[in-house]
């Protein structure tokens, strides 16, 4: 199966790519999709994950053709000196 993987915000900058496609034989969780797309680096706990534009847990199973997106949580209010 083919899964479209998208990276947003600072993740896009770090990874240097905003979209990759991965292929898998077995069903994968969102965290496993990340690992496969990012050289087996484990998915950091704080990263938000979405499947087909729905906010989901990192252990959610992904289906063929799904779009999996990763977002760094944004916390600043730009109030700092």
């Amino acid at each position: 199966m083919t899964i479209v993987v998208k990276f947003f915000g600072s993740l896009r900058e770090e990874i240097g790519n905003h979209e990759v496609k991965i292929k898998a034989e077995q069903p994968l969780t969102v965290a496993q999709v990340w690992a496969q797309a990012c050289d087996e680096v484990p998915l950091p706990h704080h990263i938000w994950t979405a499947v087909n534009m729905n906010y989901v847990e990192q252990n959610t199973l992904v289906q063929d053709g799904d779009e999996v997106a990763f977002f760094p949580p944004v916390t600043g209010g730009s109030d700092e000196n």
Binding site: F8, E13, H45, W48, M53, N54, P73, S78, D79, E80
Partner: protein, 255 residues
Amino acid sequence: MNDSSLYRYSRHISLPQVTRIGQQKLTQSRVLIVGLGGLGSPVALYLAAAGIGQLMLVDGDQVDLSNLQRQIVHNTAQIGQDKVISAQTRLQALNPDIQMTTYSYRLEPEALQQLITTVDIVVDCSDNFTTRFAINAACVRHGIPLVSAAVQRWNGQVTVFLPTYSQSPCYACLYPNQEEEGEVCSETGILAPVVGIIGSIQAVEVIKVLLNIGESLCGKLLLLDTFTLQWRTLKLPKDPACLVCSSVNFIREIR
């Protein structure tokens, strides 16, 4: 509403979803803005201009030269002043009809909670997790709507929590691991107009919730990456295991 007010707000009153009745409602509304920085600047300016009757402004910081790149409610002559005073001066000049109360210190959770019970809606423009969680907990507890946003670098996010609706998530549903620290903009930077875009959306959502019109961002998380100019709206469900909102009795009267 006198002639001068009718004229001042005529472009609102012309909107069939607002009209004179809606404008009247805005002039009778009380809004708490926590943080008068990058987000708080456009939020406060637009809500003051829109004629929100009473603004409560909370910020313990003073205006710094490095703020002025994006915190447009303040100006160069006000460096060193309390941000709430600096903002109040600008907002009162913009609209002398509105009333403001300022709190030039970081409010302790109990004081914050007390203040939140006196307002119609809260706008979170703060810069740290501790304040954000305290605001959220108080809003959930007292059933007060919360418009929450954050920005950094080229990115922003904004959402609305309506604790009186049983399906509404809360800020803690988004961050189940409260101990995690995020990046702050003094370290990572922030592109000036990003706060303008996201803060303006916060102001739009405040007006819609106050007037009970349109479709709010409740249950949705709007994300913006200005570098690639991509918007994303994620469906944001309530976390049934949320430590803050799952245990609250939701059968409240909708005000």
